[in-house]
């Protein structure tokens, strides 16, 4: 059963010609077809995928194939793809066909990966449950009554159900790590600037970062190797060399200093989550790591700080959706003002409108200093906390989320309770640091629990090594939802 194999293993099988890419595409397309109830995909283009697969098979037959040759993957529908719709989960872009590929898409394609389709997501990446999509909510493969997390919930559900071996996601406040955690997967949010944002529909520009959602840390390393690197078309892209992540995986953990963030292990933390994260930490201790208690005193300010900065940037980023050049345009308008108002009223969902309004307010004359500027000051404090902590340890750990996957509809009427689900992940985006979420166990109802490991700037290698070493001695990452087996 090829879908039970990791991306890395499938890559080896393809290279050894034990399986062909075309066969893989048929296999996964069939699985996607049979599990449409998950609503993990917005667009699937099997014909296009088969075409790519045949090219890949030729490359594989010819010898010296590119690193991802023939491997079927999916892209979060926030990445622009030529020849396949890019909707961003919104009615506003429901008919949008991009004339260009995002840098991430282009790089993965150039490395031989086969794009099977585009995954469902919270509208414009605004949400933590993948319920705000214009295309309907995504279901968690571990329990279809529950959310897969968000905003990259379609990617996480697709990989968890093994509808595809790996997928891209984006993370602005936890949107890779939280769904990875809810779906029992490995999710990496790289350092801000490590992966190009060109062609990634912007939500909050200073926080958005693309990354992989995979079954294993080894797979994440394989994906990141291709996704990472300087892009002259993204001014915030970091012009730093990309290390050999496959080599990084082999780093030993002896002497590694792991900081336990006291604020993340609050007494109110769910006892199952607490127990499993601590159990994972003792595994890491057995591998030679040392645990140190550290504090991030300004953590509590993370959510309010984020919910000023992200909506402020979003309010401006989403101004381009005006019905003038592309995307949805209202059919009823008498003048220009009505064209704008009706187009945006019809094209955006409630959560997107809420954030645009909050952000517009935060940037308005008379409020700018009190909200936006203050939030920037707080952001600096939060980043300083991390820098401080990372002088005494190499990485920081805690649970990825305060709860396991919640019920569909459980938090939709209370946005703040939804926002609070990102309490452990959001500060990492504010600081621009890399972080990895790993599966470390299950709660009594069988829902996955994730642990977050936060590293220093550009030190994705250490995070991947921790994940890989941990996965060498544990099997949480190998567990699959019932249907998959």
């Amino acid at each position: 059963m090829p879908h039970r194999q990791s991306l890395s293993t499938l890559g080896q099988m393809l290279r050894r010609r034990e399986i062909g890419s075309e066969e893989l595409v048929h296999h996964f397309a069939d699985r996607i077809d049979k599990q449409q109830d998950l609503n993990a995909f917005i667009t699937v283009d099997t014909d296009y995928a088969l075409q790519q697969a045949r090219t890949a098979d030729q490359l594989l037959a010819g010898g010296n194939p590119p690193p991802l040759a023939g491997l079927p993957i999916a892209h979060k529908d926030i990445f622009c793809t030529q020849g396949m719709l890019t909707t961003c989960g919104s009615k506003m872009l429901a008919n949008f066909l991009s004339p260009y590929d995002a840098t991430v898409v282009r790089r993965l394609q150039d490395a031989g990966a086969v794009t099977l389709g585009k995954t469902n997501m919270d509208e414009f990446a605004m949400g933590s449950s993948s319920e705000t999509s214009h295309f309907g909510p995504v279901h968690n493969p571990w329990n279809r009554d529950r959310v897969p997390g968000g905003s990259s919930g379609g990617s996480a559900a697709a990989v968890a159900a093994r509808l595809v071996s790996a997928a891209t996601g984006t993370d602005t406040g936890g949107s890779i790590r939280q769904p990875a955690s809810f779906c029992g997967l490995t999710g990496l949010k790289p350092t801000y600037g490590r992966v190009s944002r060109y062609g990634m529909v912007a939500y909050a520009s200073s926080l958005d970062q693309g990354g992989p959602i995979t079954q294993t840390a080894e797979d994440a390393a394989l994906m990141l190797q291709t996704m990472a690197g300087f892009d002259a078309r993204d001014s915030t892209s970091l012009d730093a060399p990309v290390p050999d992540y496959a080599a990084s995986l082999k780093q030993k953990l002896e002497g590694l200093r792991i900081g336990l963030v006291s604020e993340f292990f609050d007494p109110s933390l769910d006892p199952d989550i607490n127990a499993h994260v601590r159990e994972a930490l003792s595994e890491l201790e057995k591998l030679g790591a040392k645990l140190i208690d550290v504090s991030l005193p300004n953590s509590a300010a993370g959510i309010p700080c984020y919910y000023v900065i992200a909506p402020a940037e979003a309010s401006s980023n989403l101004s381009r959706f005006d019905g003038v050049r592309y995307g949805h345009r209202s059919e009823s308008y008498a003048d220009l003002q009505a064209l704008y108002e009706n187009t945006r009223a019809e094209g955006f969902g409630a959560e997107v409108k809420r954030r645009i309004l909050v952000g517009t307010y935060a940037l308005s004359a008379g409020y700018y200093e009190a909200y936006y500027l203050k939030a920037q000051q707080v952001r600096r404090r939060i980043a300083d906390d991390f820098s401080q902590a990372l002088t005494v340890c190499d990485v920081l750990v805690g649970p990825t989320t305060p709860t396991t996957a919640f019920l569909l509809g459980e938090k939709t009427t209370n946005p703040v309770s939804m926002y609070l689900d990102d309490i452990f992940t959001i500060t990492v985006n504010l600081a621009g640091l890399p972080a990895l979420s790993l599966p470390v166990g299950f709660d009594p109802s069988g829902l996955p629990i994730g642990m977050q490991v936060i590293g220093n700037y550009l030190d994705e290698g250490t995070l991947l090594a921790i994940g890989h070493r941990f996965q060498e001695v544990t099997d949480w990452h190998l567990r699959v939802p019932g249907e998959v087996a």
């Binding site: 990445f79 622009c80 890019t86 961003c88 872009l93 949008f96 991009s98 004339p99 260009y100 995002a102 944002r197 060109y198 062609g199 990634m200 529909v201 912007a202 909050a204 520009s205 200073s206 002259a232 078309r233 993204d234 001014s235 915030t236 402020a312 940037e313 309010s315 401006s316 989403l318 101004s319 381009r320 005006d322 003038v324 050049r325 592309y326 220009l336 704008y340 517009t360 940037l363 308005s364 004359a365 700018y368 936006y372």
Partner: protein, 478 residues
């Protein structure tokens, strides 16, 4: 009767003549078919990002150096948010709190008075596209070719006291940006656009009156007209007991008046904030060195040099340096003229200026090159042709008949300096004009001019006038 004082501050949008747009690699050629110079970035497609054009930064630095401003080592691009169909992103990328250039000044003379207008700042920003309102019936068209064209907005202190002074400032700034080769200066194409802030106050009052902002003025003449109109309007309002409303007014060149566009209450809240897609613009020594190396001699310095190096009058050198092409032409022609700056300046101020003006021709398109003019001066100075013949040769060159030497050779215009030949002509003239000879000998020496003229006429102007004079005087003294 109250004596009113006018207070004017100007904001000029200088379109930088870079090869590509300020945040995208799209070309900036003017006049291309609509929307053919609009890439994914200019169209603000989802996911695109801006990248600052280094050339635009260099040009802004050159400007800052030329006006003696501070080049900020750290400046910030900000988003100015508003909705308009020709603004694709729904925001304009500009600079708000920290511009690339702070301070500096523009200096000029009006008659004998020296003026110095202080600059507040000069900042980089992108232009919007154009809305086309009358070509598609009740629909509007959008042309995004101009979207993303780099602009340098140059903002003055409210230092000007009359429309004439404002115009003089604009002309000086216009000369400067063309000198620096950072702007093509084309007013018709909108490469140099002006907004004016104007207010009035009683003479002697130090606080500023309420100002209005005049937009959409795209010629020097219109600036003066718009300001004249607006000042009269403001005085009339105040003198009839009214108050000036702080508002933006549009200048209508056809009607010759200004009319309200929007009031302070209707003013946009642009919700400026630093653009998270663009890191702070850091200017280090390398960029400063590069800009400094690209900086040409500035008009003021060149004017002073023309006085000392070439011995021109201040008026002549001011005239010749008001335009970089003109000054370049002059200096090349002086070299070709073996250093006779005085004669070259005379020709350029006289025949050349007249011909250019008559044919509405620019110096670059003129049929006479600096070398051709220099050669003409050489032929005159070495006695090959007389000054009078030189004018004929100039006209022939202007008509495209060839170089000065070719024309002289072809038409046999070489000056007659041969004494024997001239002696005979003089003798003939003296015989024909006995009454004038008598007048001269009776002391009316001014008839000499008439006699010289007769000799020149007989030689078709080719006689060397000095020699003719000499020979005539000798014969008349006999």
């Amino acid at each position: 009767m109250t004596e009113w004082e006018t207070v004017i501050g100007l904001e000029v949008h200088v379109q930088l003549n870079t090869k590509s747009k300020i945040f995208s690699p799209t070309a900036t050629t003017y006049g291309a078919p609509a929307n053919t110079q609009a890439s994914a970035v200019d169209l603000a497609l989802p996911g695109v990002l801006p990248v600052i054009n280094r050339e635009a930064v260099l040009k802004a630095i050159c400007f800052g150096m030329a006006v003696g401003g501070t080049i900020e080592s750290h400046s910030i691009f900000a988003r100015k948010n508003y909705f308009y169909p020709d603004l694709p992103k729904g925001y304009q990328i500009s600079q708000f709190e920290l511009p690339i250039v702070s301070g500096g000044s523009i200096r000029f003379e009006v008659g004998d008075t020296h003026h110095e207008i202080r600059l507040v700042r000069a900042h980089l920003e992108e232009d919007a596209g154009k809305s086309v309102h009358d070509a598609f019936g009740r629909l509007s068209g959008i042309d995004l070719n101009r979207a993303g064209t780099p602009l340098l907005e140059v903002v003055t202190e409210p230092d000007m006291r009359s429309p004439a002074e404002a115009v003089a400032y604009l002309r000086t700034l216009h000369t400067l940006v063309r000198y620096l080769d950072i702007c093509d200066g084309n007013l018709q194409e909108g490469s140099f656009r002006c907004d004016a802030n104007v207010s009035i106050r009683p003479q002697g009052q130090t606080t500023l009156g309420t100002r209005t902002e005049l937009k959409n003025i795209n010629s020097f003449r219109f600036v003066e007209q718009a300001l004249d109109y607006e000042i009269d309007r403001q005085i009339a309002v105040v003198e009839s007991g009214g108050a000036i409303a702080q508002e933006t007014r549009l200048y209508d060149a056809d009607q010759g008046h200004t009319r309200p566009m929007r009031s302070k209450e209707e003013a946009h809240d642009y919700r400026y904030f630093p653009d998270p897609d663009l890191p702070p613009l850091l200017i280090g020594d390398d960029l400063l060195k590069e800009a400094s190396a690209a900086l040409p001699e500035l008009p003021d310095n060149r004017q002073a040099r023309f006085v000392t190096e070439y011995g021109l009058t201040v008026a002549q050198s001011r005239q010749l340096t008001r335009d970089r092409d003109l000054a370049d032409f002059f200096e090349s022609a002086v070299i070709a003229a073996a250093g006779d700056a005085f004669e070259v300046a005379n020709w350029m101020g006289g025949e050349m200026a007249a011909a250019l003006n008559r044919d509405q021709c620019t110096l670059k398109d003129a049929p006479i090159t600096p070398v051709m003019l220099g050669d003409l001066v050489v032929l005159m100075n070495n006695g090959t042709i007389s000054g009078r013949i030189a004018k004929t040769v100039f006209d022939a060159m202007w008509q495209g008949d060839g170089s000065a030497q070719e024309i002289v050779d072809l038409r046999g215009l070489t000056q007659i300096s041969d004494s024997d030949a001239l002696e005979k002509t003089v003798e003939a003239v003296l015989q024909q004009c006995p009454s004038q000879v008598a007048q001269y000998q009776a002391g009316e020496t001014k008839v000499l001019g008439f006699l010289v003229g007769q000799v020149m006429k007989m030689t078709e102007g080719k006689a060397n006038p000095q020699k003719v004079n000499e020979i005539l005087k000798r014969h008349l003294a006999d």
